[in-house]
């Protein structure tokens, strides 16, 4: 018998995991950011459950710092699919909980979105949240199980992870606890792009090259100028052909210089790239070596 092609194998694994979620939980949800990974998740979910409806709503924790292309893309996609979308805004959480918004030149809401996420989980009593995290992104993520049990505070405890063997997933939790499920744990950035190409998956335009006005940061990264940044005359403003490797907050996600206009060109570019996805684009992981581990322990997905 022939072994499956690697993309077929990764796809089969992801579909299997999604169906386990549908089979094991009462109130699952799919965390949707509008980025390529969560768009792939939606594509996989359709493969797992069509012609039925998705057995979970899409949930977007909106930091308010997203690019408008991504929000438009999200709304069009949901309208086209006829699936349910729940949006909760970090803005509202800040007001309700009297929180202090991010400050400084690049005011990040990265820490704040954990509050909104935990609030929406308890509002709808979600017992499982499917997310698009991949183990190749970051070394703390490389340690996390596919079914990652969180306590009632949403915390990940790396020392208490359940053994996870074969393709047998134990999603049993008590009321108030939830499981974060990562069906594309074993995919790399390049796998995602090869899959997007094969399946002809549509993406927001910011993934492809376009001319944009950016501010050049001290670390040499290109941040698109936008209303959320506080800039002054010392900042160096440049216009470059750029694209985004990840979709995140406009305040902490950098663009990369690129001439890649098609998926094929992006794949060729990535094969030659010497910089990791998060390294190229994220300011939030650079804080310390254990930044991601600490955020996950605090409830981050």
């Amino acid at each position: 018998m022939k072994k499956l092609n690697y993309l077929d194998e990764l796809e089969a694994e992801a579909i299997y995991i999604m169906r386990e979620v549908a089979g094991q939980f009462d109130k699952p949800a799919l965390l949707f950011s509008g980025g390529k990974d969560s768009i792939c998740l939606v594509h996989l979910a359709l493969k797992a459950f069509r012609p039925g409806k998705l057995p979970f709503p899409l949930v977007h924790v909106d930091t308010g710092h997203n690019s408008h292309e991504v929000i438009e893309f999200r709304d069009n996609l949901v309208a086209e699919l006829g699936e349910k979308l729940i949006v909760r805004k970090v803005e509202d959480t800040i007001k309700e909980r009297n929180l202090v918004d991010g400050k400084g030149k690049f005011p990040s809401r990265n820490g704040l979105q954990t509050y909104t996420l935990l609030d929406v989980i308890s509002e709808f009593e979600f017992d499982a949240c499917i997310g698009g995290a991949r183990r190749d992104e970051e070394k703390a993520r490389a340690k996390e199980r596919i079914f990652s049990v969180r306590d009632e505070f949403g915390q990940w405890d790396p020392k208490k992870q359940r053994p996870e063997l074969w393709n047998i997933y134990n999603g049993k939790v008590d009321k108030g606890e939830n499981v974060r499920v990562f069906p594309i744990s074993n995919w790399t950035e390049l796998d995602i792009w090869n899959y997007i190409k094969r399946e002809n998956i549509q993406l927001p335009s910011i993934y492809f090259t376009h001319s944009r006005e950016c501010v050049l940061t001290d670390a040499g990264q290109l941040m698109a100028t936008n209303e959320f940044l506080t800039l002054d005359e010392t900042d160096v403003i440049v216009t470059r052909n750029v694209r985004y490797r990840t979709v995140g907050d406009m305040t902490c996600t950098a663009a990369v210089e690129s001439e890649a206009y098609t998926v094929d060109e992006i794949i060729a570019e990535l094969k030659n790239s010497k910089i990791s996805e998060r390294g190229a684009t994220r300011m939030d992981d650079r804080v310390s070596e254990a930044a991601m581990e600490d955020r996950k322990k605090g409830g981050y997905f």
Binding site: M1, K2, K3, L4, N5, Y6, D8, E9, L10, E11, A12, I15, Y16, R19, E20, A22, G23, K47, A48, F49, R50, P51, G52, K53, P55, R135, D136, K139, A140, A142, K143, V149, P158, K159, Q161, R162, P163, E164, L165, W166, N167, I168, N170, K172, V173, D174, S185, N186, T188, L190, D191, S273, K274, I275, S276, G279, A280, E289, A290, E293
Partner: protein, 414 residues
């Protein structure tokens, strides 16, 4: 291009993380920003080499502090020929359960032996676990050859020692490779320091080793994960059983039997990716439709009528106890085999396996973290299964503590 999943077993002292770092580093799979970070960290840990490659895989703060691998880390790389998933598993006895976790899915085991020490208790334990898990292929990597002057005699002695030790084990294919992960000998490039070794480098080996697939004699198995019932106007009577083909293949029109209900029916239709197909094969996610409207739910096993599985409520199995809390008699458990779950009680610990000699010891009735035991389990519902030796997909299960929800044990049916 296909996918090879392998795990590495050995201590940090055996150079396991260094080996993985070397595979990633020399295959150009590490980005410059990560190397930069590592260079900084390596200076703070005070390790001599320019880059401490072990820091690549030890992703948790506690691991970096202690300099050991505690939990499995997954790493990815690909070459022109294959995509690889490495489960980097811990070597210490106290983390055996994590090693068992990382190894369960693997097509191949790389067991590291320090050339200076030869086969140790740890080598034996890792090999025995690989044997219990039925890992199709084992590569014994005799590492740190640079510290024994690349001496062929050392390699030959360890190879023959290992073969002798492995005789009673259930290891189908064993290969041997001399290497120095630190110096990079025989990892990605063949070493000129060991001209006496005629085999491929580790990377060449990984790229070309045949992945042993489900043999053709394997019985066909399908298990229902989820029932799709759209209940819309146009799909009013649609009732599809979503799941993956666990082994073998199914054809449209096959006469099938459902377990545990034992009802017989026929495959009416099969969908893959939303398209009707006449045949489906192992690992493919599908939606299956039956001729008759009968009781089929999550966890039901569907097989061709000519390939009936074992069906029992009293099961014999080998399990690894994985909970920090020791086994207590009468503990309420759930047995989960893929998507099938039933209440279970562990009736008897028949014997304990000495994980260093692979001999059965008389049971004293206790079972603690990392113990391997032969047990008898009683279940509420009938389990449909195959012996793990015959089928890794339907022969494996976990035990869940009904009270704490923890996965307390993993096992294979005899």
């Amino acid at each position: 291009m296909d996918l090879l999943r392998f795990f590495t077993a050995g201590n940090v002292d055996d150079g396991k993380s260094t080996l993985i770092g070397r595979l990633l580093f020399d295959s150009d799979s590490i980005s410059t920003d990560i190397i930069e970070t590592l260079t900084k960290q390596s200076k703070t840990t005070g390790i001599d080499a320019d880059i401490d490659l072990a820091l690549l895989t030890d992703g948790l703060r506690a691991e970096r502090e202690q300099g050991i691998t505690i939990d499995v880390a997954y790493k990815y790389f690909s070459t022109e020929k294959r995509k690889f998933i490495i489960a980097d598993t811990p070597g210490h006895t106290q983390y055996t359960r994590n090693m068992f976790t990382g190894a369960s899915n693997a097509d191949l085991a790389i067991i590291l032996v320090d050339a200076r020490n030869g086969i140790t208790d740890q080598t034996k334990r890792h090999s025995i676990i690989s044997s219990i898990l039925g890992i199709p292929h084992v590569l014994v990597c005799i590492n740190k050859m640079d510290l024994v002057n690349y001496d062929e005699a050392v390699f030959n002695r360890i190879e023959s020692d290992y073969k002798e030790f492995a005789k009673p084990l259930n290891l189908n294919k064993i290969s041997f490779l001399p290497a120095s992960a630190l110096a990079g000998d025989n990892v990605v490039k063949s070493s000129d320091k060991m001209p006496w070794f005629k085999g491929p480098s580790m990377m060449d080996f990984l790229e070309t080793v045949e992945i042993i697939e489900d043999s053709e004699v394997k019985d066909s198995r399908f298990q229902v994960q989820y029932v799709i019932r759209p209940q819309t106007e146009e799909l009013h009577d649609y009732r599809g059983y979503a799941g993956s083909v666990l082994s073998g293949s199914f054809k449209k029109g096959d006469a099938i039997q459902i377990f545990p209900s034992e009802i017989i029916s026929e495959i009416d239709r099969m969908e893959r990716n939303g398209v009707d197909v006449d045949e489906v094969n192992a690992s493919e996610p599908i939606i299956l439709h039956l001729k008759d409207n009968i009781d089929v739910s999550r966890g039901s096993t569907i097989v061709p009528v000519s390939q009936i599985p074992s069906t029992e409520k009293e099961l014999h199995a080998t399990i690894c106890w994985m909970d920090n809390t020791s086994f207590k008699e009468g503990q309420k458990l759930l047995l989960q085999q893929n998507s099938f779950r039933t209440k279970a009680v562990l009736k008897e610990i028949e014997s304990k396996i000495d994980i260093h000699s692979y001999t059965d010891l008389e049971s004293d009735g206790t079972m603690n973290l990392n113990d391997f035991c032969n047990v008898r389990i009683k279940t509420a519902e009938t389990v449909s299964f195959d012996s793990y030796r015959k089928n890794r997909k339907t022969g494996a299960f976990i035990l869940i503590n009904e009270n704490t929800n923890s996965t307390v044990a993993a096992g294979v049916f005899a």
